[in-house]
């Protein structure tokens, strides 16, 4: 069999695989559908180039196979052709880059009304903190973290007192409300990623990083850690539950705030002291 036929079949197979693949995106569940659109555009332009180049190659292989006594063309340079190809490529590249940069501009500029969520990562788990009635998160420090202060909130920061603490790896979010994910880590790199939301960013110890999205489908999603963080990396999962506003409000009301926790701790200590007195 002529090798060109096999190369042709490889190209054909690639196209068919792309059309009929059962392995493709999960349905997008956030505002980042534009990323999917840019990928589709890149498939059209890039895929077109791939097919064109490979088919041209196959054509050459058939048409110009070695024949004894035939001479190849002798033409060291073709300035005009090279110029045309350079410009055509440049135009294609600009057509891909432009929408990519527009979306990136959206990605780094967070809408004003976004609710901030503190996502705290460690080896190997997640916990979350939401702002209280004041709408602001209290500042934190790694050295403050202990059993009584699981998020390391600075105790003298008034904004921290009413923060809602979710000591679970499942976070509830309100549908159609933009959220700004503020990522931090107490030990190594992590990355909080829900494939259906498309967006991601590393959590880096020492700094706070961010990204935002707006969930737009009610449902339950799995969170993956996608920045290698040691031997438990693959098991570092979490969850997100996107709820309608009423369900979300009901859920939020049941959550504990930092002042609740402090009060509980104090009660515990008072009880302990009482108990100690009784025994004495």
């Amino acid at each position: 069999m002529h090798p060109g036929i096999i190369f042709f079949l490889v190209i054909l197979g690639s196209i068919l695989f792309h059309i009929f693949t059962p392995w493709y995106w999960t349905d997008v569940a956030s505002n980042w559908g534009g990323m999917d659109d840019t990928i589709t555009l890149t498939f059209w332009i890039g895929g077109g180039v791939f097919i064109a180049v490979c088919l041209f190659m196959v054509y050459c292989v058939f048409k110009f196979s070695y024949k004894e006594g035939r001479r190849a063309e002798y033409k060291p340079e073709d300035k005009k052709l090279e110029k045309i190809l350079t410009w055509a490529t440049t135009i294609g590249v600009v057509a891909l880059l432009a929408p990519g940069l527009v979306i990136w501009n959206n990605y780094v500029n967070v809408p004003k009304n976004a609710i901030e969520v503190d996502v705290m990562a460690w080896q190997w788990g997640w916990q979350y903190r939401l702002p209280g009635k004041d709408g602001k998160l209290g500042t934190t420090q790694v050295v403050n973290i202990n059993d009584n202060n699981p998020f390391g909130i600075n105790t003298d920061d008034p904004y921290g007192k009413d923060d809602v603490m979710i000591q679970s790896d499942v976070l509830n979010l309100e549908n159609n409300k933009p959220v700004k994910i503020l990522l931090r880590s107490v030990d190594v790199l992590h990355n909080w990623y829900v494939p259906q939301f498309r967006a991601k960013m590393d959590a880096v110890p020492g700094i706070v990083t961010y990204y935002w999205f707006e969930p737009n489908k009610v449902g339950e999603y799995e969170v993956l850690c996608v920045e290698y963080c040691g031997v438990g990396h693959y098991a570092m999962r979490g969850g997100v539950i996107v709820q309608s506003d009423q369900d979300y409000k009901n859920w939020l009301e049941q959550q504990e705030t930092y002042s609740d926790l402090i009060a509980k701790q104090q009660n515990k200590e008072i009880n302990k002291k009482k108990l100690a007195k009784k025994i004495n």
Partner: protein, 612 residues
């Protein structure tokens, strides 16, 4: 003393030129080549087995040594990849496979393949063998240093492999070695393993610098008479530019490895912020993990081109020779190589779009990354335009070339996905990335290496490799590797993350199970197919068909040595004199379909040679 020697040489050379020019009787001037300006170098000729084959100063032997040792580490990398694929396709099938082992195998596979296999093989192997021959030198300019370079590499490999036998085993931090996890408990091999890795890299860089200086200065200073820079084969251009990149990029890796070792051993905090581990605050503070990523990728991205540029150069020469046609747009090809090399220092942070660096960098690095696509695309066009109206020999070498074009274009296009910052967001850290970089800097360069082996083996050994075995080797490798990595992109679309020991039962990942099994089976097959080459080489050394002089009817100098395989000193009594570029194939009016670089213009006066 030396001046006198110089004069004698040049007079001798010139007089013979005049005689050969004189026979044509018309214009003796057209054969004039500027006389040499410096005397020839003195070479140390080994006498014993040890000085000839072990501590040898002949660049050709050093090239083969590099090739063999790199191949040996490559086979270890291959076996590690089998073990990984066994776990991914058939979880639990290998009883000993814990998550610790899996991550150690992933890490060692990556580091071995990128640095100790591909880099060493292209620059140390092909660079050493081909540069002096292709530019018409007797050897590298610093043969002793060249020998030391190989043995430093040898020690670096020993140190690397010794980490398999220390307590805790080799590092399992991923080949990117991102701190803080790299040196903290919770990552396998965070004790002796990572220190040995850093030490091995430092040794590698030191050894490589010795070799690299040799390649650069040999190309700049030791070219033979008439071999202008714009007459050099693209192989030399590729290796030369890659070496410049390596000289500038490797220091970043070196300081990164050094600073990380200090963080580990002395408790400095270059890369270590305040860290809470198991309820206790560690004695680190103020360092930046992202700083390491910048250092790593400032090395890491040029590293991609350190592998790719020699591959670009070699493939250009192979396609040209076996299409019996000059490489299309030689000047453009040279400037593309240089341009890509220069640009490759301004794109590193496209590996870090979601690393937490200032997100505004994204605009800059996406733009530079997509700009680099333009010269790269030009190279692809010129390869296929070289095939166009050629006279294509469909031999094994050409098959590898065609396989390269398909895999490289495929991997290049997926690079445009990942380089375009917002498209990278959903795809980064998924199997899409794995598929992309294996296609573009694993399989595509491998196609080049294999093509180069089938092409230059007749020069190195004086015998042909078997064509039939070669074709089996090619089709199994190409079809197998393509069916590993092409579908793998689509697993990335689902969201399957990289560096996962197990997938568990995430709803969208269960659909990947069957595909993972298929990919693993293909990986076993492709790996096994590589042993066909080893058999082919051993067989050819014993009973291979003798190749004789210039078996492919090539124009470039390496085929024009008086002896095949070339001896130490390469050129016998007299250095060759170059009169033209390396691509005068199928010149109209010429007797044969190639004019060698040493053919004097007066011998081909009636032909339509355009460029000399």
């Amino acid at each position: 003393m030396s001046e006198e020697y110089n004069d004698n040489k040049t007079v001798h050379a010139q007089s013979s030129e005049t005689i050969s020019g004189g026979t044509s009787g018309v214009a003796p001037d057209i054969d004039y080549v500027r006389p040499a300006e410096i005397p020839e170098q003195d070479l140390y000729h080994g006498h014993s087995f040890i000085t000839k084959w072990v501590f040898c100063q002949d660049a050709k032997v050093i090239g083969v040594q590099y090739f063999l040792l790199a191949t040996f580490t490559g086979i270890i990398g291959l076996i590690l990849s089998w073990l990984m694929r066994l776990q991914l396709g058939f979880p639990g099938a290998a009883g000993f496979m814990t998550a610790e082992h899996y991550y150690q195998f992933v890490t060692m596979h990556g580091m071995i393949m990128v640095v100790y296999f591909l880099t060493a093989l292209f620059l140390g192997g092909f660079g050493n063998y081909l540069i002096p021959l292709m530019v018409g030198a007797r050897d590298m300019v610093f043969p002793y240093l060249n020998m030391v370079s190989f043995w430093m590499f040898f020690i670096a490999v020993l140190v690397l492999l010794s980490s398999f036998f220390v307590p805790g085993g080799p590092t399992g931090a991923g080949w990117t070695l991102y701190p803080p996890q790299t040196i903290l408990e919770g990552t396998p091999g965070s004790g002796a393993g990572i220190l040995l890795m850093c030490l091995s890299l430092i040794l590698f860089v030191a050894g490589f610098t010795m070799g690299g200086l040799n390649y650069l200065i040999t190309v700049l200073q030791a070219r033979t008479r008439g071999m202008t820079l714009m007459r050099m084969p693209l192989t030399v251009w590729g290796i030369f530019t890659a070496t410049v990149l390596a000289m500038l990029a490797f220091p970043a890796l070196l300081v990164g490895a050094l600073m990380m070792s200090l963080d580990k051993v002395l408790g400095t905090s270059f890369f270590m912020p305040t860290i809470l581990k198991a309820g206790e605050v560690l004695e680190y503070g103020g360092g930046s993990p992202i700083l390491f990523q910048h250092l790593f990728w400032f090395f890491g991205h040029p590293e991609v081109y350190i592998v790719a540029l020699p591959a670009f150069g070699i493939i250009s020469d192979l396609i040209s020779v076996h299409s019996r046609k000059n490489i299309f747009g030689y000047r453009m090809m040279v400037w593309a190589i240089v341009g890509i090399g220069g640009l490759s220092f301004f794109v590193w942070a496209h590996h870090m779009y979601v690393s937490g660096m200032n997100p505004w960098f994204g605009f800059f690095f996406a733009t530079t990354t997509l700009i680099i696509a333009v010269p790269t695309a030009m190279k692809v066009y010129n390869w296929i335009l070289t095939l166009w109206r050629g006279n294509i020999r469909m031999n094994t070498v050409m098959l590898w070339c065609l396989g390269f074009i398909v895999t490289f274009v495929n991997g290049g296009i997926t690079g445009i996905f990942l380089g375009n910052v917002s498209v990278d967001v959903p795809l980064s850290d998924t199997y899409f990335v794995i598929a992309h970089f294996h296609m573009v800097m694993g399989i595509a360069p491998l196609m080049v290496i294999m093509g180069a082996v089938y092409h230059w083996f007749p020069l190195v050994a004086g015998k042909f490799l078997d064509e039939k075995l070669g074709k089996w080797h090619f089709w199994l490798t190409f079809l197998g590797a393509y069916s590993i990595y092409f579908p793998m992109h689509y697993l990335g679309f689902i969201g399957v993350p990289r560096r996962y020991f197990e997938m568990y039962d995430s709803p969208y990942m269960t659909s990947a199970v069957g595909m993972n099994e298929f990919i693993s089976l293909a990986a076993f097959l492709v790996g096994a197919a590589q042993f066909i080459l080893i058999y082919n080489i051993i067989r050819a050394l014993k009973v291979g068909k003798p190749a004789g002089h210039n078996p492919w009817q090539a124009c470039s100098l390496e085929w024009l040595t008086p002896k095949v395989p070339p001896e130490h000193g390469n050129w016998g009594d007299r250095l060759p004199v170059v009169h033209r570029w390396a691509y005068d194939y199928s010149v109209p009016g010429a007797k044969e379909d190639f004019i060698t670089q040493t053919t004097a213009p007066s011998e081909v006066v009636d032909t339509g040679v355009e460029k000399t």
